[in-house]
């Protein structure tokens, strides 16, 4: 036994003499950490790194089967899902791992921001972190493209349409992005190279630098109200803090990182097991146009923001906003590199995080049910509610038919079914007079097309007759104020006396 041990030590010593890694590794593991920083709040960075490793491993495994060709990518995913043992599970882990990674990176960033950990001397660590966030989002987007289904195809089309709006060089940029004149084989190859070689390579390099800087500069100390960061004194204060009562990173802080890593891996596997892989949706065949493309979860908010922008602001917003936002994130530690770290002394920072979080949440929520998109089959799929037809005259029922057949329901809901792009029509007669309806239907306006060319006078008459019956819970019909005024001027004042209105109030 002792001989075995002796020879094992001998082999170790042989390698160590040549590698010389023992000393730097031990020192890195034992580097003193401020005592309160060995906290559960400090586990997100290592959590993101562990998820990145998981993505590398599962990604390589998927690449064993996946075919990066526009002709075969979709069917290779079908093969992966249904024919390869546990292929669906590996795909699901990779997909859920991606969602978890984006979420953890965002949480890590919010925590670092709120704890003021980006301040001196960790400005560059933050700046590299901003790039890591962008690379992570880039991986999420390109990964969604590699799924190469209908959503990916039309999503790329949206991307190309956005790129085409770049002034002067839009056209060449589109061809550069697509790798050719259309979305096809060379487009997928380009995104494959991005997803598998270029962005992961940069991620690896930046993660290595990011972690190196954490070791080199030490873990940021727990913020205390009133403890001001100043370039003149910080280094001395931090050295005092860590040398006096600092704890070794391993094991005092590392056990929490390890527990969190295990928990997050289990959570990814649980989601993969219960919810399965994402897509692929329909085949990437552009001749199948019965589709309503939608981006993945983490890009829904962009979809929503674009939908709510006034059209004339879209192009400037698309190209100016990202520059401003990314620029602000990069410049943050250079502008605010000193001062208070504690969140209770930084109300603007707190407010920003809250507003951004609420805004992202609201836009993501809106993006899940897309009230700005017409529901293309509502006109044939959502029947007119029976309550809207009971006790109606033949003309009014004919109008209900016109409402269905002219695709009005694609944008207008009735009885809770139908599109949300235009206002619901359940109580339209309480808001619009007959004249206003006729004008709106025939001439359009707002977001509504003009139906003047698509409706005969008889159809218009029937449609408006039906709309006039839609008064919700028996609300009183809308009245043209000018009519009331002109009638009241024409009629003798006696009919306007209080006695005239008493029967209705009693």
């Amino acid at each position: 036994m002792s001989r075995l041990k002796q020879s094992a030590i001998g082999i170790y010593a042989w390698f160590e003499r040549r590698l010389g890694l023992e000393k730097p590794l031990l020192e890195a593991a034992a580097h003193p950490t401020p005592p309160r920083s060995a906290s559960w709040w400090y586990v997100f960075g290592s959590g993101a790194t562990v998820l990145f490793m998981l993505q590398i491993v599962t990604g390589i495994l998927l690449a064993l089967v996946y075919t990066p060709s526009a002709a075969e990518a979709w069917s290779s995913l079908q093969f992966l899902d249904h024919q390869i043992t546990l292929g669906w599970f590996l795909r699901a882990i990779h997909g859920w791992g991606s969602d978890f990674m984006v979420a953890i990176v965002l949480i890590h960033m919010a925590q670092v921001f709120l704890f003021g950990a980006y301040k001196y001397p960790r400005e560059l660590t933050w700046i590299l972190g901003v790039f890591l966030l962008l690379f992570t989002l880039g991986m999420a987007f390109t990964g969604q493209v590699l799924r190469f289904d209908q959503d990916a195809y039309w999503g790329l089309g949206i991307g190309a349409s956005i790129v085409s709006r770049v002034p002067f060089i839009g056209g060449p940029l589109v061809h550069f992005m697509l790798g050719g004149p259309i979305l096809g084989g060379q487009t997928l190859s380009r995104f494959f190279a991005l997803h598998v070689f270029i962005i992961p390579g940069m991620l690896l390099g930046f993660v290595a630098l990011h972690v190196w800087m954490v070791l080199h500069l030490g873990v940021s100390e727990w913020p205390m109200p009133g403890r001001i960061v100043s370039k003149a004194t910080y280094d001395r204060e931090y050295h005092e803090l860590t040398s006096k009562d600092g704890v070794p990173f391993v094991p005092d802080a590392a056990w929490k990182d390890a527990v969190f890593a295990a928990a997050i891996l289990l959570a990814v596997m649980a989601c993969a097991l219960f919810f399965g892989p994402f897509g692929p949706s329909g085949q990437p065949d552009p001749t199948i146009i019965q589709t309503a493309p939608k981006p993945d979860f983490f890009f829904l908010w962009i979809y929503a923001v674009l939908a709510y922008l006034p059209p004339e602001l879209e192009t400037p917003f698309l190209f100016i906003a990202p520059v401003v936002v990314i620029g602000a994130m990069l410049l943050l530690p250079l502008v605010a590199g000193e001062g208070e770290k504690h969140w209770s002394r930084r109300p603007v920072a707190m407010l920003m995080v809250s507003v951004i979080a609420v805004a992202l949440g609201v836009f993501t929520h809106l993006g899940t049910f897309t009230p700005w998109s017409p529901i293309m089959d509502a006109w044939s799929g959502a029947p007119t509610p029976v309550a809207c037809l009971q006790g109606r005259s033949p003309l009014e029922r004919q109008g209900a038919l016109v409402l269905q057949n002219k695709q009005c329901r694609n944008c207008h809901a009735l009885g809770g079914a139908g599109g949300l792009r235009g206002p619901a029509l359940d109580s339209i007669a309480a808001r619009m007079t007959e004249d206003q309806m006729i004008r709106q239907v025939l001439q359009g306006g707002g977001n509504m097309p003009a139906y003047g060319n698509a409706l005969s006078p008889a159809q218009t008459r029937a449609l408006v007759a039906f709309l006039m019956t839609l008064r919700g819970n028996n609300l009183s019909p809308a009245v043209d104020g000018s009519h009331v005024l002109s009638q009241s001027e024409a009629t003798p004042p006696s009919s306007q006396s209080p006695s005239g209105s008493t029967p209705s109030t009693q």
Partner: protein
């Protein structure tokens, strides 16, 4: 880096130690070293590698940006949408064609759909499937004579002009011609705002009366500035 900055004590200093003697040489020694033959050769080698790098960059950049600098016209060609009998007069129908510039790796993605509106005789309008807003596939509804986009609710009239919603122009149109009763269009690249200049059109277009000799061949109705 000063010592207090280093949280781990001073491990890095030990690693750096072998290089320290070089910094202890005198200033004149350093000057002599800088102007030595080896230092000159080292600088020369850097210059040589810089030059090789520039030469190497030419094929790399040319390969990478090749698709960007290729002229649009080289991608495009006349493709057939089939006999005009497939497109009844007064109707708008979905057609598709194999993109003239394609490879095997494209698979189904190079089957490009388009909307064909047969006005009368040999007079057509061939619309791209892509919404002029962000490229989603528009759908034709013959009942209401409208094209609707499922993404952000762009709507177009039967003649492709903008009706409502976010698009800033009407649908993109292909150049077309009729040869031996076959409908041909000039296609080959994805239509976007960059290759189809935005033409100001009034919101509601009143169709001009059809000319008596509408079947003049080849008849191309398209943006004057398109495909520039």
């Amino acid at each position: 880096m000063t010592e207090p900055l280093n949280p781990t004590g001073q491990p890095q200093l030990h690693i750096l130690e072998p290089q320290i003697p070089s910094s202890s040489t005198t200033a004149s020694d350093q000057r002599a070293q800088r102007s030595s033959r080896r230092a000159f050769l080292f600088k020369l080698s850097l210059l040589l590698n810089g030059a090789v790098g520039v030469v190497l960059a030419v094929p790399i950049l040319g390969y990478l940006f090749g698709p960007a600098f290729r002229r649009d016209a080289t991608y495009k060609n006349w493709v057939s949408l089939g006999p005009i009998a497939n497109f009844p007069e007064g109707q708008t129908r979905l057609a598709d064609f194999r993109n003239p510039y394609t490879t095997d790796a494209d698979g189904a993605t190079s089957n490009i759909p388009c909307w064909v509106r047969h006005i009368a005789g040999h007079q057509f309008q061939v619309f791209a499937i892509n919404c002029a807003h962000l490229g989603c596939p528009v759908r034709w509804f013959p009942q209401s004579n409208l094209f609707m986009c499922p993404c952000h609710g762009g709507v177009y009239y039967a003649d492709g002009s903008r009706a409502s919603g976010p698009p800033e122009r009407g649908l993109f149109e292909y150049q077309y011609t009729v040869v031996n009763n076959d409908l041909l269009i000039f296609a080959g690249q994805m239509p976007t705002l960059s290759n189809h200049a935005c033409v100001e059109k009034p919101l509601i277009q009143i169709e001009p009366a059809l000319p008596a000799h509408a079947d003049t061949q080849p008849f191309a109705k398209t943006d004057p500035r398109a495909d520039a």
